[in-house]
Subunit: 178 residues, 2 copies
DNA sequence: TATTTGTATTCAAAAAATTGAATACAAGTA
DNA sequence: TACTTGTATTCAATTTTTTGAATACAAATA
C-alpha cells in the first residue's frame, strides 16, 4: 500500500497531527490525489510510529487529549526516498459510470441523461475547488518543491476539466441520437 | 462494493464464463473502467450464484473441468436495474505520482523527469490499446447499447490522452524551470 | 519431445479499506 | 441555555482487495 508513503510524504513537508493530515486529505491538497478516511489515517500513523518511521511530540491541550504532532524519523525519510525512486502505478480505475455504460440500455435514457448531468455538476464543482486551492499555493518561487505542487494541482484540474468536457460530449451525443 | 454490479452488467449483455469475464477485465472493454483480479471475479461469481443473482450452465469440456457459463437470473437483473438508477460515485483516486509531487524535492530532478517519461509512454501505449478497442466495437447502429459503449470508450481515450498531455506539460515546465 | 502459452478454476493468507460508531471538550450560534 | 460545529483521537466489525499460489489439460512452438 502507499497510504504509508503518502503520510511519509506529507510529514516530509511539515510536521502535522493526525487531525491536520485528515483535513488535508478531505479538503486540502491531498484530496486531489489520495483518498483515505480519518480512521485509516490514525491507524496508519500509529503503525508507522510503532515501526519507527515517524515519531511524535505530544502537545498537551487545555483540558483535552494530547495532540500528537508527528514528524519523519531519519529511517522514515530514507524509506520515503527509496520509495520515491521506484516506478509509479497509475491509480486503479473503478468507475461506476462505466458500468452504467455497459448496461445503460436497461434503464430509460432520461435516467442516463440525468446521471450525466449530475456528474457534470459534481466535477465542475470539484474543478472550482481545485482552482481555489491553486490560489493558496506559493507562487513563482524557484524551489522545485513549489513547482511540483503546482504540477500536481494542474493534473487534478485537467482531470476535472476533462470529466466536464466528456459529460458535455456524451450529453450531446445522446441528444443527437435519440 | 460494485464489482458485484459490474459482473451483473457484463452478464446482462451476454452469458460468459469466469475466465471470459476475467479476460475482458484484463484486456477488453472492462479494462477501461474496472480493475479486478481473476480470483476476485471467481469468488464474486460464486457468491452471486449462491445468492441467486446469477445461475450457470456447466459445459463439459473434453477431459477437463466443466466450464461454467453464467447468466443473470430475473432477480439479478432486477438488482442491476435498481442499482443503475442510483447516483454514481467517481472513481477513488490514489495516485502515486501525486505523492511524488509532494516529496519530489527529496530526489534528484532527473529521477522525476525519468518517471514522467515512463508514465507518458505507459499512457500513450494504453491510449493506443483503447483506440484499437474502438475498432472492434459495433458501429453506427441505432441501439443505445452501442452508443453507450462508444461513450465509455471515449471516456477512457480522453483519460489517457489527458495523461499524455499533462506529462508533456509537466516535462516542459520542469525543463524551463531548470 | 520438452517447453511455453492459453484455457479454466479454486484455495488460503494477509493487507487494506469501509462502515459505524464512541469519547471529550471548546467555541460559536440561535 | 440548548444546539451545532470544529478540534482531536480511538475502537471494532466487516467487507474488499491483494498476493501468491496449486491444479489440470490442450495446443502450439522450439
Amino acid at each position: 500500500m502507499a497510504l504509508k508513503h503518502t503520510l511519509l510524504a506529507f510529514l516530509a513537508r511539515q510536521s502535522l497531527s493526525g487531525y491536520e493530515i485528515a483535513k488535508e486529505f478531505e479538503e486540502g491538497f491531498g484530496s486531489c490525489f489520495w483518498k483515505a478516511s480519518q480512521q485509516q489515517i490514525y491507524a496508519e500513523l500509529a503503525k508507522l510510529e510503532q515501526q519507527g518511521e515517524i515519531s511524535y511530540e505530544a502537545i498537551p491541550q487545555l483540558g483535552r487529549l494530547d495532540k500528537k504532532i508527528y514528524s519523519l524519523t531519519p529511517q522514515g525519510q530514507q524509506h520515503l526516498v527509496d520509495w520515491l525512486q521506484r516506478p509509479t502505478e497509475p491509480t486503479v480505475i473503478r468507475e461506476d459510470l462505466g458500468v452504467m455504460g455497459l448496461a445503460g440500455h436497461l434503464i430509460p435514457p432520461q435516467a442516463v441523461v440525468r446521471e450525466l448531468g449530475r456528474r457534470r455538476a459534481l466535477h465542475a464543482e470539484k474543478l472550482r475547488q481545485m482552482q481555489t486551492l491553486t490560489t493558496t499555493l506559493p507562487m513563482g518561487s524557484p524551489e522545485s518543491k513549489d513547482l511540483y505542487m503546482h504540477l500536481i494541482l494542474r493534473r487534478a484540474i485537467r482531470y476535472q476539466e476533462d470529466w466536464v468536457a466528456w459529460c458535455d460530449e456524451a450529453l450531446q451525443a445522446i441528444a443527437q441520437h435519440g
